[in-house]
Symmetry: C2
Subunit: 254 residues, 2 copies
């Protein structure tokens, strides 16, 4: 029966009109019933943020066999929470965020609204994957990644993921992908982060910008190495952020 | 010399006018030179979000011996990034977020703007601590926690914290604290998260609300157990969110 196909919830942070989410829907449709609840405008850099100071609203945009699309005025994490509460008639088998226009590897995982979708899905107990392409081009070419994306989503539908664990998948913007690499988060930090300008004689205005300084550019285990070398980087990611390794030492402080 | 005292950067997510940040500054002043860069309004639930679609602005509010206070139009994480780029004349010895009006234990760590401050400080390579009290009362009584907060900040100044590791400290809102417990993040999830209402004949408006369902209420290792039993919960927290335990299994998929 139609309603026994896997149910897949899709959202993003670039908003419902972005090419990345349309492409993602196209790649995933053969795998199941798709419900989309995506922000009504771009929500980049919103991490796992929630809308707490005002109400949010959602609206049906279209419904056809196998695909229902809603837009929502909330953040990416709001979209997932609200979809679970309202439009999903059963627990989904998969939550997917993306495809983000821009890299969410390394420390970017903490700022990413796409990963906000994914971490929220994971916190709801559903296997969740975020896909991002290393290009901010609104018309980026997602086609080379299509088969990889569908294959990974199919594998996760079949095998599941452990509790509190999701996948952060970054895709180099190249024509010829070399394959996939399972990676860890690259160590490094953003530098030169602000562009200063004056407005009405006030010199204290700043636009966010910056460069990522990779602290371990030659380490083949990292997501950046994979991306720099033409591979899709699959970084398993936990939502249990307890630093277990420090617990005994900390206890000795008291 | 004055400028050789430890430099401590303070921010929060309730905004510069909240009682919690004033109390935090009071508790920390004996330990060093304090610079505050805090949001100009409440920014609860903003996680590690960044302002990417518009410029941000900061402004000096006051300067006295040992204390300089700025307000900023950005998110908590923006505040930390901008302070490092602009007003700090050297790398701080400590970044402190809070004291948040409201619990940031368990999964709330992912939504918390207070922890956005702390995770950003940690990503900058500085020992960082977030303090939150389990009360949304704007006039909450922080006094019972004062000595504990100063003591923990002093210990972190002395001993440091490992790279990529920070502290998430939650404080029960009680007169008589029983002491501190080093904990891990409680497993569980938010339920009944939305309050629905209609506006102008449109029934699809929702306010965020909800209850946290603790999946392990009797587990003495968890932050919730500590809080429920009158202890300050200190949860060591990592910003390396790689799920190392899944890497080998994932590699076997390809």
């Amino acid at each position: 029966m139609e309603n026994q196909r896997p149910l897949i919830l899709v959202s993003n942070d670039d908003g419902i009109t972005a090419k990345g989410i349309s492409e993602l829907i196209k790649f995933l449709r053969p795998l199941g019933e798709i419900v989309v609840m995506a922000p009504d405008m771009a929500r980049s850099g919103t991490a796992c943020s929630l809308t707490v100071k005002e109400p949010i609203h959602y609206q049906l945009l279209r419904k056809e066999v196998g695909l229902t699309v809603y837009k929502c005025s909330g953040t990416p994490a709001d979209c997932v929470k609200l979809a679970f509460h309202t439009v999903l008639d059963r627990k989904p088998s998969l939550v997917v965020g993306g495809i983000n226009h821009g890299d969410n590897s390394a420390v970017n995982v903490h700022y990413s609204g796409t990963m906000g979708v994914v971490m929220e899905g994971c916190l709801k107990g559903v296997p969740s994957i975020g896909f991002s392409i290393c290009s901010h081009d609104p018309n980026a070419d997602f086609e080379p990644a299509g088969e990889y994306i569908r294959d990974l989503a199919r594998k996760v539908l079949e095998k599941g993921l452990p509790a509190l664990t999701c996948l952060n998948v970054n895709i180099p913007a190249v024509k010829e992908l070399k394959g996939v690499r399972v990676c860890r988060q690259t160590k490094g930090q953003w530098v030169n982060e602000w562009e200063n300008f004056a407005h009405k004689d006030d010199a204290h205005y700043y636009w966010l910008t910056g460069n990522f300084e990779n602290a371990e550019p030659d380490n083949e285990e990292t997501d950046h190495w994979a991306l720099d070398n033409g591979y899709i980087a699959i970084t398993p990611t936990t939502v249990d952020v307890t630093a277990y390794g420090l617990m005994d030492e900390l206890k000795s402080w008291f």
